[in-house]
Amino acid sequence: MSSVRTAPRASSRAHPRPRRLGPGDRLFLTVVVGIPLLALLVFVWLPALASIGLSFTSWDGLTLSDLHWVGLENYRQIFTDYPPFWPAVTHNVIWLLFTALLPTPFGVFLAYQLDRKIRFTRVYQTAIFIPMVLSLAVVGLIWDIIYNPDYGLLNGVISTVSSGHPIDWLGDPNLNLWAVLVASGWRHTGYIMILYLAGLKGFDPALKEAAALDGANGRQTFMKVVLPAMKPVNIIILVVTVMESLRAFDIVYVLGGGTGSKPGMELLSLLISDNITGESSHIGYGSALAVILLLVSLAAIGTFLFQTFRKEDQ
């Protein structure tokens, strides 16, 4: 029915604008679309597919003649006979939970407080955002100094309160992950705060006023009015948090001294670089790990986005 009705309307409307493109326009469009497409293929799809292909091989990365097809052997070994693999998965999950439960809500909380036009709000914003501005090498250096067992700030403070053995923050496999998570959370909070603050700036204050008139208290206003209205920003923040947790690499690498996985601090991303970089590389093995990380990331982000947009469509 509807198609019958719309068809004549469309034809009657299509008069003034010529729909044909000239040869110059076509060429221009081809180039403008083609170059990014080519870049996308060469820099994104080709490496991704090559990784997947390489993950079924055994290769030292030096000469092509050494490339052997091994089928699923790499995956079998990783799942059954690779000691750092399951700790790495656990640590990635811990990382995700920690980041999602502490620094992210805290960043939102700070943004909400700073949006209330309190005094010196600019100073606070800058101070909290500064960790994000610093280069990671500097962040690593700062926390290295704080955690140093001999002259570190943290042990210095602790030793004035109680005596005893110095705590080996970065060396103890039971502690070092948490030590690094604090450092990472310190950065992440500022990031989330800025994102959320930007969202709050575009928030219509009339909604808050209306909530106040209706007798809502501060908590109710936030939970029932602000948070739902900020949905697009919430999605961005959640995606950012999940992504940052899964790709966590840099700060561990810096604090771990650039040696790749240290006991207690194994992460999937570090295992990949462990196997691929260095003098004797196992390209196939590392690629298999990368494919696993890719699948996990796709599953996490995919599920989330799918859910969100399906709700929106309804």
């Binding site: 070994q77 955690y147 067992p149 103890d172 001294g257 650039g258 996985s261 970089t277 003098e279």
Partner: protein, 437 residues
């Protein structure tokens, strides 16, 4: 995103196309840049220039290499273009470096690590260089410089021994004696603990986990001998062998005497604790000397060889990593590179290097030892007297195996030293992945 889009539209208005073209042009330029720079690097081939890739990023080696290259430039009328990279970065990127457009001559290590790249065809044989420089080197040094195919691939510059370092004044003050065997060694450590010292300095935090291999290597060499140690390192013996279990047991005996908190400390800080008289001893290499800034302190530092464990083997092996040079796969200036290597292997070059960097010992036996300090003299004697010379854990073995399996295993074990059975099982489970190919 939306903000950008909006701004563009209003700005562009009538001539949107020019803006888009401009953006497109920028994008194309960005895409083209990498290939352009690659071309630039390839074109630089000058018959009067030799390129030299150096891993001497620290101040002292950098100065020493500069002295060597400028002496060569004066002698040969060739110029040397040195490309210095930080030591760790150089090591990590070596495979990609050698496959790309490497410098003609580059710094590297003797042992398994040199043979690996020689076997893969990433270095050129230099038998003709050795025809000139061969006379200056001992048989052990010659052996170290050959690949598995019997050809020379390596020109040694210097080596340095690993030993147990201490401060003479500390030993004098407490009346300690140099321990000759294991029971004296552990007894001394116990006594030091009573006297309020950390018996053995320990620092393997951050990127320094390699430093614990020195202790393991010596324990294994002394308890099980050179042959077994080398077959273990080359992946020919299982790590679950009862002899390795024995080595771990010895290490466990030593564990209570290690300075606590080693997992978060750098080797430099551990060395400093020895110099500050907080630790009694340190199992470390002669590069400890780089930590010494005050020369009066240098004369107070001494070392003794790692004590005997099994009298069958005594103290017959010395761990003395050798650094030197290799010739890349297809040097741009082969003649110049050969001349440069010949010069690097000469006694003169080695003497120049040692005069700037006193924490090493020249390999060329004709190099002047006159400028040596007491520690260098003693080191040279120790190495000359050794029946076997090993390189170091990560140089005698597959470096990937050591850095991704053995080192994490050892550091984790050191936190809770037990009988090591699970540690050794873990290491053994990964051995075949590195040594079958």
């Amino acid at each position: 995103m939306t903000l950008h889009g909006r701004a563009l539209k209003t700005l562009a208005g009538p001539n949107r196309r020019t803006v888009v073209q401009g953006i497109f042009g920028l994008g194309a330029a960005a895409l083209a840049t990498p290939s352009l720079t690659a071309c630039g690097a390839g074109a630089a081939s000058d018959p009067n220039m030799v390129t030299f890739g150096s891993n001497g990023g620290d101040a002292t080696p950098k100065k020493a290499y500069a002295a060597v290259t400028s002496a060569f430039e004066k002698d040969s009328k060739l110029t040397v273009k040195t490309n210095t990279v930080d030591h760790d970065t150089f090591q990590k990127s070596i495979s990609t470096y050698l496959q790309g457009t490497p410098d003609d001559v580059f710094t590297w290590f003797a042992g398994y690590r040199m043979q690996y790249f020689a076997k893969k065809g990433l270095a050129s044989p230099i038998d003709d260089v050795w025809a000139t420089i061969g006379a200056g080197f001992s048989d052990a040094a010659k052996q170290l410089s050959k690949g598995e195919d019997g050809k020379y691939y390596f020109v040694p510059l210097y080596n340095y021994p690993w030993a147990v370092f201490y401060r003479k004044s500390v030993f004098k003050q407490h009346g300690y004696q140099i321990p000759a065997n294991w029971s004296q060694f552990t007894a001394l450590a116990k006594q030091m603990q009573k006297d309020g010292l950390s018996p053995i300095a320990s620092g393997y935090g951050g990127g320094d986990s390699w430093s614990i291999l020195g202790t393991f290597d010596y324990l294994n060499l002394r308890a099980n001998g050179y042959d077994f140690h080398m077959s273990l390192m080359r992946g020919q013996a299982p790590w679950t062998d009862r002899r390795v279990v024995g080595t771990i047991d010895l290490w466990r005996e030593l564990a209570p005497y290690l300075q606590s908190g080693g997992g978060g400390r750098s080797w430099q800080d551990a060395a400093q604790s020895l110099l500050d008289k907080k630790s009694g001893m340190a199992v470390i290499g002669l590069f400890l000397g780089q930590q010494i800034t005050d020369d009066s302190l240098r004369s107070d530092v001494d070392f003794f060889p790692f004590p005997e464990i099994d009298p069958t083997y005594g103290q017959d092996a010395v761990e003395a990593p050798t650094d030197g040079f290799m010739l890349s796969r297809s040097p741009k200036n082969p003649d110049g590179a050969h001349k440069f290597l010949e010069f690097l292997g000469s006694a003169k070059a080695e003497s120049i290097y040692m005069s700037v960097d006193p924490s090493n010992v020249a390999v060329n036996s004709a190099a002047g030892t006159g400028s040596y300090n007491a520690l260098q003299k003693k080191s040279a004697e120790l190495i000359a007297g050794a029946k076997y010379i090993t390189q170091f854990g990560d140089r005698d073995s597959d470096p990937g195996f050591i850095s991704t399996v053995v080192e994490p295993g050892f550091t984790e074990w050191l936190n809770h030293p037990d009988d090591g059975s699970s540690l050794l099982r873990t290491i053994e489970s990964q051995r075949s992945r590195f040594f079958t190919a």
